[in-house]
Amino acid sequence: MIGNDRLAVRKTYKLYVNGAFPRSESGRTYEVTDAKGHFLANAARASRKDARDAVVAARGAFAKWSGATAYNRGQVLYRVAEVMEGRHAQFCEEVAAGEGLSASKARAAVDAAIDRWVWYAGWTDKLGAVLGGANPVAGPYFDFSTPEPTGVVAVLAPQQSSLLGLVSVLAPVLATGNTAVVVTSKDRPLPAVTLAEVLATSDVPGGVVNLLTGDAEELGTWLAEHADVDGIDLTGAPLNRAMEFEREAAGTIKRVVRPPATEPDWTADPGLTRMTPFLETKTVWHPIGL
């Protein structure tokens, strides 16, 4: 980032809430270093109130996003991939620095992350056929089932894989029509903030995705307890707190994705496993008569 004789202009890394980039209302920041411990940036450390604001934003955006046509959602997600491609180099640098990867491995991770958006973009208008359908009930009724989004989903993103892992947990939540409040990797938040800039400049409506840099251990409790959160993905939760978060989530019967014992290989084909937990099935009956 540093040119030959020019002093670079550094970026201030902020939160992404309701389509805007606020600092944490708490005023807190924390130091982010690269894999070797060198200073990279100060990131905003989101607070309970930032989480609350993010949930309000996600709830506000839900009706429009879930009500958009599947074709439209697919195009919006594809657009995210397009815009990411334009920032390919920046993502590579950030991933390499944060995760300590070689340039080629970082590039592979960024490529995979972009391709994952494309993959999910293609899913939006297939889910109805794959997960829904007409039910041949024993009576004079037309009866059909359709998958519908759960609502506002809190996502504790993976701690290790700062971009591919993040996209792998976020894109399925969006593809299914949910809106998201994401707590990024605590130690490797920078690609997430850059992703926020991509989202802000693509066609994703404000509030559909809200990205909070900070500590999943701290924010997880507030999100798990929050009565206006409908589901929570605990993938990036600290293992010693996950059970507690799940218990808190039970208070309002949230849909919960439990954390894996170790972070999975994010390059593997995810199938439907990350979409179905945040889909509801709605079944509609109507008589057939003259």
Binding site: Y141, P287, G289, L290
Partner: protein
């Protein structure tokens, strides 16, 4: 006998009658107003109506209730013969049966009426005398109704003159299905006038109207036009008196009385052959419109073979054992 009339020339009396009861005075002021009114009636969901009658069909009628139901049903029968081969002899034997359905049991009630073609109404009248059994005659170019209005009205007058005190007319289904509701209405008004003192039953021929929405609209046309009874069918078209049709027509007479204060009777006809069928209709009345209609003044069965099954069941209840066709009379 026939009278040649100008079909458009309603008498002053009929014009007065042709204005429906409040609050419906203005619904027949034009074709479009009438159409808007009829299409503004609540729709009928066929599946829901069928489910309702199926549920009522599970009512289990036992012992004293069953005895009451059978006697009530007998007293509600319009004992009918409507064949080209009908003769005075056939009508006389039917009349005899109508007055004493079970010759072995004087406690058996007589039926409500004998129903015949108009030319035989006189025979029926003579045979029935002052028994209290009514003479019903079908008219208006029964069963198709395809004749000029003049002929239909002449048909009615002829039947009344021959001694019928009840007229079973058919509506013009062609006019109904082509949306000429006012024509259907005015014809009923004219027939009502031609009936004079005779009671008018208006046959909708629901098997040709097909949908339950149409059944509801036709019921309202007939009631607004002054029909004393609405009747499902001629018996010449299938399906005839189905239970869902009965449900919708009973809802119509119920709602009409609530709105206007005038009670209209209901007569299912055609396809009701067994005691079980008859009891299902009685249950339907009981739970849809209530006891006010559980009376031959307000409810009739148009049937022929039904009576014998009612008599067999009646014998079974009385004697405790089953019987057979040789224990009731061949009609």
């Amino acid at each position: 006998m026939t009278h040649v009339l100008d079909p458009d020339a309603l008498s002053d009396d009929a014009r007065a009658l042709s204005v429906p009861l409040p609050p419906y005075r203005d619904v027949t002021r034009s074709d479009s107003a009438f159409r808007a009114f009829l299409h503004g009636l609540p729709g009928v969901d066929q599946v829901g109506a069928e489910a309702r009658v199926a549920q009522l069909g599970t009512r289990s009628i036992k012992t004293t209730s069953k005895a009451w139901a059978i006697d009530t049903a007998i007293s509600m029968v319009d004992l009918t013969t409507l064949e080209g081969a009908d003769t005075p002899g056939k009508v006389r034997s039917l009349a005899a049966k109508a007055m004493r359905p079970d010759p072995t049991d004087p406690s058996c009630p007589r039926v409500a009426a004998v129903c015949v073609y108009g030319d035989l109404a006189g025979v029926a009248r003579e045979a029935l005398g002052d028994s209290g059994v009514h003479v019903a005659a079908v008219a208006t170019a029964f069963p198709s109704g395809r004749a000029s209005r003049a002929v239909k009205l002449a048909d009615v007058r002829d039947a009344v003159q021959n001694g019928a005190d009840e007229i079973d007319m058919v509506i013009d289904r062609g006019a109904f299905l082509s949306g000429r509701y006012l024509d259907v209405y005015e014809e009923i008004v004219a027939v009502k006038e031609a009936c004079g003192e005779a009671h008018l039953k208006v046959i909708l021929e629901t098997g040709e109207l097909v949908t339950l929405d149409n059944v509801r609209r036709a019921s309202w046309i007939a009631m607004l036009a002054g029909g004393d009874f609405i009747k499902t069918s001629t018996g010449k078209v299938s399906p005839a008196a189905t239970l869902p049709v009965g449900l919708v027509m009973l809802e119509a007479v119920r709602d009409f009385r609530v709105a206007t204060g005038r009670q209209v009777g209901f007569k299912p006809a055609g396809g009701i052959r067994t005691t079980k069928d008859a009891v299902k209709h009685l249950v339907l009345i009981n739970e849809t419109v209530g006891r006010d209609w559980l009376d031959p003044g307000w409810f009739r069965f148009g049937a022929s073979s039904l009576l014998n099954d009612l008599l067999l069941q009646r014998q079974k209840l009385r004697t405790g054992h089953y019987s057979g066709p040789d224990h009731v009379s061949v009609d």
